[in-house]
């Protein structure tokens, strides 16, 4: 067996031991060492060289990155998640036929979808979704994310929140908690447009705060333009389109002149 592979395998088993102990500092440390070691394997993306150890190397590399993704969720680092996922993705997309599909594939893809939803990157969410085969949509992890997106788009926020009880995988809880915050922002945005005013108690209920203090703090931080008086929250509506009283003369003159110029060219 290749000595480099042996070394990585040993290091990885130490990583897994630390991971099982929830010793995340050691994990992060070992992971960066592992990643450096992985760069020395020629069979990994993007070069995909056909070496005798290719299958073994690809498998262990995929396993390492899968753990890296889960680790990033546990240490609640979204940027690390994105980086690790990007590195992992080629193993799912381009290694078909070289190594068998991983059992972790759909949970992690679903996790990524959820992350995009939390960060309100809906366009990317759909771009990722298009990459999945039809059969994948039946998978509970993917389905969970897809249904969340639907409820989210519809505005059925209650359904989004109640989905937290039915997470298909323990790692999903972190993102579901983040999603609750996204939902609150959405609700605040909707309320601003949908209501003229609301009593403080109602606002607290709608925005899911447990105390008035939290509500006041939230308004002060996120929506300083809202007004609180007489026990109610008054939303400042965006200026509506006023019927125009003035003719925009300069613009009209410019337009007319340009028509005249063009017509002159034609005649």
């Amino acid at each position: 067996m290749d000595p480099k592979l042996v070394e990585v395998t040993q290091l990885f088993s130490r990583f897994k031991a630390a991971f099982a102990r929830n010793d995340f500092d050691t994990c992060v440390d070992l992971l960066s060492q592992l990643k450096v070691r992985l760069t020395k394997f020629p069979s990994l993306p993007p070069s995909f060289q056909q070496t005798p150890n290719a299958v073994e190397e690809l498998k262990i590399a995929r396993d390492i990155y899968e753990h890296a993704v889960v680790l990033s969720v546990k240490i609640e680092d979204q940027d690390a998640f994105e980086r690790d996922f990007c590195q992992l993705k080629p193993y799912y997309m381009d290694t078909c036929g070289i190594i068998p599909p991983s059992p972790q594939e759909y949970p992690i893809l679903g996790l990524n979808l959820l992350r995009l939803l939390v960060q309100n990157r809906i366009a990317e969410f759909h771009t990722e979704l298009e990459l999945l085969p039809v059969t994948a949509l039946e998978n509970p992890c993917i389905k969970h994310a897809v249904e969340l997106e639907q409820s989210f788009m519809e505005g059925a926020y209650n359904r989004v929140l109640s989905a937290r009880q039915a997470v298909p995988h323990e790692t999903y809880v972190y993102f579901m908690d983040l999603l609750a915050k996204t939902v609150r922002d959405e609700l605040a945005g909707c309320s601003e447009k949908g209501y003229d005013y609301m009593s403080i108690a109602e606002a607290r209920q709608v925005l899911m705060f447990s105390s008035d203090k939290e509500l006041h703090q939230y308004i002060a931080e996120e929506h300083p333009e809202w007004e609180i008086k007489d026990g109610s929250v008054f939303f400042q509506k965006a200026k509506e389109t006023q019927p125009c009283k003035e003719i925009p003369s300069l613009q009209v003159i410019n337009q007319t002149l340009s028509y005249a110029r063009e017509l002159e060219r034609i005649v």
Binding site: E124, T127, G155, K193, Y195
Partner: protein, 487 residues
Amino acid sequence: MPEDVEMNDSQPQPAAAPPPAASTLQHLKEIASVIEAGSLTKEVRRISRAVRLTVALRRRLAARDVAAFLAFALPHSSEAFARLSSLLPKEDGSEMDVDSAAPAAQVSIKHGLPEIEIYCYLLVLIFLIDNKKYDEAKACASASITRLKNLNRRTVDVLASRVYTYYSYVHELTSSLAEIRGTLLALHRMATLHRDELGQETLLNLLLRNYLHYNLYDQAEKLRSKAPRFEAHSNQQFCRYLFYLGKIRTIQLEYTDAKESLLQAARKAPTTARGFRVQCNKWAIIVRLLLGEIPERTVFMQKGMKAALAPYFELTNAVRVGDLELFRAVAEKFASTFSADRTRNLIVRLRHNVIRTGLRNISISYSRISLADIAKKLRLDSENPVADAESIVAKAIRDGAIDATIDHANGWMVSKETGDVYSTNEPQIAFNSRIAFCLNMHNEAVKALRFPPNSHKEKESAEKRRERLQQEEELAKHMAEEDDDDF
């Protein structure tokens, strides 16, 4: 969707076909002389004409015609001749072409022109694809690409772009598109460096098609946004580009822009490209539905598209009524069609539009309605329909779908009066954009006019010229006077 690769190029045009008296070989020779003339005078237009003429001949090509033409056009000692001849299926050569001996219009061409060589590659490639000899076609295409990489002549560009198209097409037919992505990217870079705009256009489309074939929307968009843009040279390529652009934008939820691209693609596409137009229309219908518009009935009744668009017609109907149950039934009924069209995920997105339309209908018909009634009318089946309805209504208001306010304390929705749009600047802006469109169209048309170069000058002598100028001057003066009279 193999139809759209072909588009109109493959449609044999019976009207353009020459009288049957002349043999295919004779035609090929004529085309060769057109190419030669184009090459010598450096007129790209003639070469495009040669390609068009070839397409008209396509149906009638036989192995022996092609073989005889190769023998005629290429020097026998050349590498290209040996390679191309070996790719052609062997037939008994006993029946040597009688027509070639016919003295009627004997054409002879100079050997060794790269245009002719590439044309031979193209001809063999088309022939092999039409005869379903894909492996040979692949070999031929790869050989011609290798040859093309060493050529840098603007007159070859037209032929080269056709070769690229068939190169990609044959790989699509054998579903090995992923393999050629690297080659296409290299070719695109080369075309960019050579300022071969037609080649860039063609290759960009082929690459986009390649990515979209595997649903790689992200890569497609990254390439598209970074590739150099210029005014389109070929209408077909521009149509394709618009279609791919529309698809990418649809996936990325930029519906307004997507609609514009898709409708433009459908309008610009030639009438013979039916398959392509059907595809454009399907996507355009969905995008319009996603935008909350209802496409007119005439869209579905277009000639030759009625059957293909039928599933989308029923879908539109369901969205128009705003009935979730009906929508679900239609989506289920045509699930296989939508999967084949790869529009399934888009249909899933439509669900919330169905709710929106239903909600809009309610908001138009009632000035005040309780949230419980809304939930009932929309058939929201959840454990807490009123709360769901409230947040759905709030979101619809924020997104501008309906104009209303919610009274939380009383639990009802109050619709606002719609304002008079003519009291704003809106009509003025719309009018301006339409005028600008017409003027632009006129300018484009003027630019597109083409005159044969120097045709009117060659014949006139110095004396005649002076005479003509004088006449023109008089005429101008006359007109100026008339103008003065008018005022």
